[in-house]
């Protein structure tokens, strides 16, 4: 039986088709304003791409911030449960998951594929993709270049503000003081890595940790986080789809 998982995230919508214990395919697109429209689009693109009729799909499960808006889904599961399922499928034996998404970041403790504890960041953009997005803009570099840029820095600038808006003004003032672009980028990457590492340590994560979410695509970010935690991190081939994958696995029943 084929099942589908839709992760209606705040920034991007992800869809995964799952069959015979393998990932058939996946798609990622910007969410835009309407969660339902974005999910419907992803779903029909998936069906079309893999030449599947709607009737061939058993169950569709939704997860993510907009999960309750996905009226065509049979059921919804929280992102926490979905990520745990998805990541445990890709990395059996994983003990911890760090997910840094567009709107929040979370740390999940997993035991045999089951969630045993979790922590989400407070209601604030600190330690999320939004932090990088805003501060990269203040640095006048595309967010995708931020990590690489940070790697060439010899003299990392100190970013002291956790608040996204204040960090943005801090970047502007560092620019005004003549700091190099790469040094400020390194400071920003370090700032978010520290913030996320504190959450991971608070949850007692030590090893066998996976790093997922859109921010995990950033190699500089991954290196900084590995340095803070002192262990290598597992990063899936497509770190953005683990929530949708988990939902699709849950939909297998």
């Amino acid at each position: 039986m084929i099942s589908a998982g839709i992760d209606a995230g705040a920034a991007t919508t992800k869809g995964v088709l799952f069959r015979d214990n393998t990932i058939m395919g996946y798609r990622i697109a910007d969410t835009g304003f309407n969660f339902l429209t974005a999910s419907e689009t992803i779903f029909s693109i998936l069906l079309e791409s893999y030449s599947i009729r709607r009737e061939e799909i058993g169950h569709v499960y939704a997860t993510g911030y907009g999960r309750s808006s996905i009226s065509f889904a049979d059921k919804s599961v929280s992102e926490i449960t979905a990520h745990a399922k998805g990541v445990s499928f890709l990395f059996p034996g994983v003990q911890g998951i760090i997910d840094v998404g567009g709107q929040d970041s979370k740390v999940i403790v997993v035991e045999n594929g089951r969630v045993v504890d979790f922590l989400m960041n407070d209601k604030c953009a600190a330690g999320t993709g939004k932090f990088l997005e805003y501060t990269a803009k203040a640095l006048e570099v595309p967010i995708s270049d931020l990590g690489e840029l940070a790697r060439v820095s010899d003299h990392r600038a100190a970013i002291t503000s956790m608040c996204t808006v204040f960090a943005e003004s801090e970047v502007i003032s560092l620019r005004a003081r003549g700091f190099l672009k790469e040094d400020i980028a390194a400071g920003l990457i370090r700032s978010i890595a520290q913030r996320v590492a504190v959450m991971a340590k608070r949850m007692g994560l030590k090893e066998n940790i996976a790093f997922v979410g859109g921010v995990a695509k950033n190699a500089g970010m991954r290196a900084a986080l590995e340095k803070e935690l002192g262990v290598p991190l597992y990063v899936p081939f497509e770190p953005q789809i683990t929530g949708a994958l988990g939902a699709a696995i849950a939909a297998q029943g």
Binding site: Y65, S78, D104, V115, K123
Partner: protein
């Protein structure tokens, strides 16, 4: 679908009756005391012939007024309460209707935020502050608190012109114990599985405990208990949850509402608007003053140190009410409860009981984020 409890409207209806009662009492020269905390002994107020009403704010709309005077980063309960007072005194429209009924505020030296807010309050309302020892475990602390409540009694005598006799005090102790016993009965009914009543319904009742007169409140609780004896289930079947932490003053039901909406069943609240107010009775067989001092210092508030009895009690309650998980609720910027969370979490972990920490204010902006946490927590413990 949850059954409609016939006795619940009694508590809503009694609001206007109570306001009218207080207005009428004031005309007859009876003094009305405003309070903010469980540490102020009701028994002394009533024994002096005065009446009392709780002033704790749970509404968001008075906070902007308060922030004209108070720092933004203090707890919403303090800001909401203060905003209601200053708005009432300036003739504003957001005012708490209780404020104009008050002769004197009897405050208490608990957390830093409240202590310093009370200093500002004196510009608007006469305010008496009851001191509390912060290390309540020693005989010296009890001795000191005894002298504090005697001093408070003299203040009440001067205010009302009545003498507080031992006999009157004993009578009021029996009265407040009767209320507490009824609450024991109500909470005992919640131990059954399924629980016959929703946690949010109990919270709304508990928020009226220090607002209504003791007679009115007891009548309502009796009616409710009688009715619940015949109710099998509130209709909710999800995991049994205990809420532990800060008080939820009238107007603040955000977190319990979210928990229930996500399918959790709240069966007990370890808070000022829960067990903390009634679990311990006052000893009726010893000197009433000493008995009061003893009982009130046993309140396990996080402003006390060390607060081992609270930690032990939470574990005990979690077992007694057979809960699957604990939602630890703190008002934003409430350092005492927030810091104490780690000790609670460790103690519960030893017993295999998971804890979800939620820190929130009175705003709506985090409703969705709290919802995700609660949903994931319920999935985790299901």
């Amino acid at each position: 679908m949850s059954p409609t409890l016939q006795s619940l409207p009694f508590f809503q209806d009694s609001y206007e009756l109570r306001i009218a009662q207080l207005q009428e009492e004031r005309k007859r020269g009876i003094k009305v005391i405003g309070t903010f905390c469980l540490y102020v002994p009701d028994e002394i107020i009533f024994a002096s012939g005065a009446d009392r009403i709780v002033l704790c704010g749970g509404r968001a709309d008075t906070i902007p007024v308060a922030e004209q005077s108070l720092p933004r980063n203090i707890c919403p309960l303090i800001k909401s309460s203060f905003g209601a007072v200053i708005d009432a005194c300036c003739g504003g429209s957001l005012a708490c209707p209780h404020i104009p009924l008050i002769d004197v505020v009897v405050a208490e030296a608990t957390c830093d935020g409240k202590k310093k807010m009370y200093e500002l309050l004196t510009d608007y309302l006469p305010t008496y502050v009851l001191d509390l020892p912060q290390k309540p475990g020693s005989p010296e602390a009890r001795e000191y608190f005894l002298s504090e409540i005697r001093k408070f009694a003299r203040f009440m005598e001067q205010l009302t012109g009545n003498i507080i006799t031992d006999e009157a005090l004993r009578r009021e102790i029996r009265s407040s114990n009767a209320t507490k016993r009824l609450l024991h009965r109500l909470f005992a009914l919640r131990k059954s599985d399924p629980s016959p009543i929703r946690g949010s319904e109990v919270l709304r009742v508990m928020q009226k405990q220090f607002f209504l007169s003791p007679d009115m409140f007891r009548k309502g609780i009796s009616l409710l208990c009688d009715e619940l004896e015949h109710v099998v289930s509130s209709g909710n079947t999800g995991p049994r949850i205990m809420i532990s932490g800060c008080p939820m003053a009238a107007g603040n039901t955000k977190v319990p509402d979210i928990i229930e909406q996500k399918g959790g069943v709240i069966v007990v609240e370890e808070s000022c608007t829960g067990t903390r107010s009634f679990l311990d009775l006052v000893d009726e067989d010893v000197d009433p003053w000493k008995a009061l001092a003893e009982r009130y210092l046993e309140i396990p508030c996080a402003c006390m140190t060390p607060n081992d009895q609270r930690i032990a009690r939470i574990v005990e309650l979690a077992k007694e009410y057979n809960v699957r998980g604990v939602v630890y609720y703190t008002l934003q910027f409430c350092h005492a409860y927030n810091i104490e969370r780690l000790r609670v979490q460790k103690a519960l972990k030893k017993e295999g009981i998971p804890l979800l920490a939620i820190e929130s204010d009175y705003g709506e902006s985090d409703t969705e984020q709290i919802g995700i946490r609660v949903e994931a927590f319920l999935e985790m413990i299901a």
